[in-house]
Symmetry: C2
């Protein structure tokens, strides 16, 4: 997928930006199809496109997946849902349901209905709010019911679930499309909490016969068909990141991140590099300054840890990361390699997972914080 | 500045978003005026608005500062400069110069000239490129000359500077508006590197008599008038962040960050909270789930460290930070406080500096990565 982004003078945005991100929509579609293939044909495979499609562009990602046959989409907030609805309207996907994980917050009822959005109801207050609105408008309103089975984050707690089971009239006027829950530690295949949550969820859903169910996030999709029910909700796997520690799923990386080489300079032994002069060069060196910095989501803690690839050769990032640039020791690179105009920030010798490990975080956090200053390209899709 | 953002039902964007950021343009103007007051009336005080105005919105920030009398603006890349030029055009500030720190990269000459942008020339290659373009177009082209005095990042190295001083014809056709350099450790008031850089810069500038000079970033503005020359270039101080460790400058905080309380739930002793179940509750508790997560720049490492303020009372963030939400222990909060619809993420008991310290980074990195999913408000300005 690597392309000579900055040598394409025909593209003025590439000429103007110092970094570029290319999203491979076909790879995202392929990852969705792979996850879809793991479950029974009767199980629907939704697509999680919250947080702007995990940072990669919810409009482009959701449109590509809708074109590939995905039928259900999840976002976090009403704002994200309205944005996606507008995109779907423009692209003739307006029939597709959009589920709002944070539910029906106070005052949001009109907007949810106006944009044909389906809230995930997380507590009795939300249920009551949505039911009152159904009554007021004289319509039957769709919703998902979310039961907490161990996250203590969103969803009805055990007491509220008990109450609801005893008082199902609280759901009158609502059309419950799915009951759902969410896995705490799905990425740890052997964690007994997975089976405990599964048992708890099976107990809860037994009180709602005939209502379809959903439990699996990406990791859950890989835990086996017990976890799939009538709908899975993969997120991170669509974006090419392996959710499970021990299983190698067939997922393709979906993005490429490059930045312009702004300057290549000579420096002598004893020179110090970057803010605070934290690195003292031990030899006469060549230093390349590259146009990406922590304002672009190239995190500050990567100084002295990360490696970039220039003309196919690997060079270490030295000194502190600046807001708009990084400094790289290219002393050992061939002259031929240094004819490149750009550096690859994620590459075979420094994959997204390695960057996440160097930051003590998960890949999710990196991709959801890629900066808007880059020039964004989308390949593939429909 | 704290406002009841989410109770303003008249604002549909606030109703739809789960978090809101309010930027106080008057505070930014006041900070610029304070920095400006430190230098002689003959010294111009530029405004650094790169990285989208340090994450807070370059268009709004630059327009407010232009209205307040700032006359010179700096950005990093050509792309940022074109965006700012378009905003200035729309707001009748088109006469204001925009300096591009990353200079004239290959192929950018036409766009720089078309948008009346002034490149900071960082090496002989850039000088030659800009001079050739001047010759080709038969015009005199403005530029800044950047000499490196210790960053080893951008700017002419010592050898190139020597060569240029011996070969000033290389500048024919260029109108050098300023010679400049950049401080390595300006934030450390006693670091001897400051005075070494100052001496080195004074030597270099002596070879360009009559050309105005510029050395000071925000920290440099506070180091004293020796560092000010004809132009200072404050950045971070405009955004209310103190650049110096030991000096208390009169800077006002410029932004406010709040997020919606999505749900308040009961949990019992022994329940675990969040992904991985990393926290086990030691008592029956009330947990609030708040609509901000690491995708919004509320970093994952804040789990178990940060504190939010709800209805004026402080509550700890517990468990892992999710992509779209955090969980907060509100057991000890008054019922009255829990009537609030939102939590303040930055507040008197947990200032931006405290968050940066918890993350082992600098405040700059936090503000430049605030997420676009928030509803952004701007107060003040002109």
């Amino acid at each position: 997928m690597t392309t000579q982004l900055f040598q394409n003078a025909a593209n003025s945005a590439d000429l103007a930006a110092d970094s570029a991100i290319t999203v491979d929509l076909d790879a995202i579609v392929e990852n969705w199809r792979y996850i879809d293939s793991l479950s029974s044909p009767k199980t629907k495979t939704a697509a999680m496109v919250k947080a702007n499609g995990y940072g990669l562009g919810s409009g482009a990602v959701a449109s590509a997946l809708a074109g590939a046959g995905a039928e259900i989409f999840f976002v976090a907030s009403l704002g994200e849902a309205i944005e996606l609805r507008q995109i779907f309207r423009a692209k003739n996907h307006d029939n597709l349901p959009i589920m709002v994980l944070h539910g029906a917050q106070r005052g949001q009822e009109d907007a949810l209905a106006a944009h044909h959005l389906i809230p995930v109801l997380n507590d009795l207050e939300q249920i009551s709010r949505w039911q009152l609105f159904a009554k007021k408008t004289g319509t039957s309103l769709p919703a998902l019911l979310h039961f907490d089975t161990g996250m203590t984050r969103l969803g009805l707690d055990a007491d509220q679930a008990d109450w609801l089971i005893q008082n199902k009239a609280a759901l009158d006027g609502l059309d419950i499309a799915y009951v759902m829950s969410h896995l705490v530690s799905g990425e740890l295949i052997d964690d007994p909490v997975n089976r405990r949550q599964l048992a708890c969820f099976n107990d809860l859903r037994s009180w709602f016969p005939g209502v379809p169910s959903s439990l699996a996030n990406s990791a859950g999709c890989l835990l086996g068909r017990d976890y799939h029910f009538q709908m899975t909700r993969p997120g991170i796997a669509l974006y090419g990141i392996h959710p499970l520690e021990k299983v190698t799923a067939q997922l393709r990386p979906v993005f490429d991140w490059q930045a312009r080489i702004l300057q290549i300079r000579h420096a002598v032994a004893g020179d110090r590099v970057g803010y605070g002069g934290t690195v003292e060069l031990q030899r006469d060196s060549r230093i390349a300054t590259i146009g990406v910095g922590y304002a672009d989501g190239y995190r500050r803690q990567l100084g002295g840890k990360a490696k970039v690839s220039i003309g196919g050769q690997v060079a270490p990032v030295i000194g502190r990361i600046s807001m708009d640039s990084i400094t790289v020791d290219v002393t050992d690179l061939d002259k031929a390699a240094l004819r490149a105009d750009f550096a690859a920030l994620i590459h075979d010798d420094y994959r997204l997972e390695a960057m996440a490990a160097d930051l003590g975080t998960i890949s999710y956090e990196i991709i959801t914080n890629l900066g808007q200053r880059a020039n964004w390209h989308y390949h593939g899709g429909v």
